[in-house]
Amino acid sequence: MTQFLFFARVRERIGSAQLDIPLPKEVRTVAQMLDHLRGQGEPFTSALAGSHLRIAVNQSYAQPNDPVDDKDEVAIFPPVSGG
């Protein structure tokens, strides 16, 4: 199971801050993981629509081609707005 964390607007749209979701074997990268989640129907499809999302794998920013597997902590959030 991959542990997913959601923050801010994404958390509100998903309706929870944390979910454990199994990822199929063929999902190996951040981009594939996002496509997979978007294909799971609502609330994922609309909560994860658009290209402005930021992804962190194990608490470091990740790029679309970075690897993910089922032991990772994956966070999905909008652009940050602190300070």
Partner: protein, 339 residues
């Protein structure tokens, strides 16, 4: 070095405790962020701040450590508050201590510039009209990217032996184009044409492609007829309500009486940057003599940069390339940043 907390902080106490072990410090620079009561249009009663425990601390550690090395800082402290904060309250404190003021100023600014684009905090504004997530930070990517630009300069000069040296100072001004870095800039593309539709808008398509390749987020795309009031209205909406950083227009800049894009732009902008439009015409002139007939202007509406580009696909893409490297710098200065 890093603290995330609900409670307020005292700047005096933080400086005292930071300096307790640093007898060689000659300068301390602090930056305090405060909840503003008014944003562009709204009365803000409070903010809700959330963060990603674990990652936030890691990101801030990386930024602080980089700043310590790069600016020879002796000590750094970052205190960031979370939870519900009302107008006028402190949000964030950055302290940089160094032997001399130059390093302390640069280090402090470097830390807050990178905190704004990397540290995992999110703000929600609470106003009488309801709640609103703030999920963009106009100009922040540009502000942070300046630090990268400065670092690249000596290398750029070294690779151009025919250029006269600029005295080796890292603030020297460059006259040759640098890499185009529009990372995170919220960009709108507006096509003005009486005859085209969005499916045949090849000039808008090429601008969208170029902006995305430069790292921009193209968040708005529209096509309007050559109607001065409609154009002005949409520019206002994109600048004020959507908070776009850059608006590229294509079309409606010629001498025909139907061409009103420069007039509509002038109607809603407060400051004109003639040099950018001159640069665009100068580059165009190298290709075709009629390029000087484009009447496009480049202007700021508050901190949104509006750039009129010609209507042809080739003219639009060539004009974009002529000026795009300067855009992050313009935005940073328009928002009060230095060179």
């Amino acid at each position: 070095m890093i603290r995330i907390q609900k409670e307020d902080f005292s700047i005096d106490q933080e400086i005292k405790s930071l300096l307790a072990d640093n007898q060689r410090t000659g300068a301390v620079v602090t930056m305090t962020g405060i909840v503003r009561e008014f944003t562009a249009h709204q009365h803000v009663q409070a903010m809700e701040l959330e963060h990603y425990p674990g990652m936030t601390e890691k990101e801030l550690e990386k930024i602080a450590t980089t700043a310590m090395t790069r600016f020879s800082l002796q000590a750094v402290r970052v205190v960031h508050r979370v939870g519900r904060l009302t107008a006028g309250e402190n949000i964030v404190l950055v302290i940089a201590a160094a032997a001399h003021r130059g390093h302390a100023f640069d280090g402090c600014r470097f830390i807050i510039d990178y905190l704004k684009i990397r540290a995992t905090f999110w703000k929600k504004e609470i106003t009488p009209q309801g709640e609103k997530w703030i999920d963009s930070c106009p100009g922040c990517e540009a502000a942070a990217s300046q630090w990268e630009e400065l670092r690249q300069l000596p290398h750029t000069h070294a690779s151009q032996p025919n250029k006269p040296a600029h005295g080796g100072h890292h603030h020297s001004h460059h006259s040759h184009p640098l890499e185009i870095n529009w990372l995170g800039l919220r960009t709108g593309i507006l096509t003005l044409s009486d005859s085209r539709n969005l499916h045949s808008d090849s000039s808008g398509d090429i601008l969208e492609k170029l902006a995305k390749e430069a790292g921009a987020e193209v968040v708005a795309r529209h096509l309007l007829p050559d109607d001065r009031a409609q154009i002005a209205d949409l520019l206002c909406h994109w600048a004020d309500d959507m908070g776009l950083d850059v608006i590229l227009t294509t079309g409606g800049t010629g001498p025909s009486p139907r061409d009103v894009t420069p007039e509509a732009t002038q109607d809603v902008c407060d400051r004109i940057l003639p040099g950018i439009a001159e640069l665009i015409r100068m580059e165009g002139l190298k290709q075709v003599r009629s390029a000087v007939l484009t009447r496009g202007i480049t202007a700021l509406r508050a901190t949104t940069l509006v750039i009129n580009l010609p209507g042809s696909r080739h003219g639009a893409s060539q004009s974009f390339t002529a000026m795009a490297d300067l855009v992050p710098h313009i935005l940073s200065m328009a928002r009060g940043g230095g060179h």
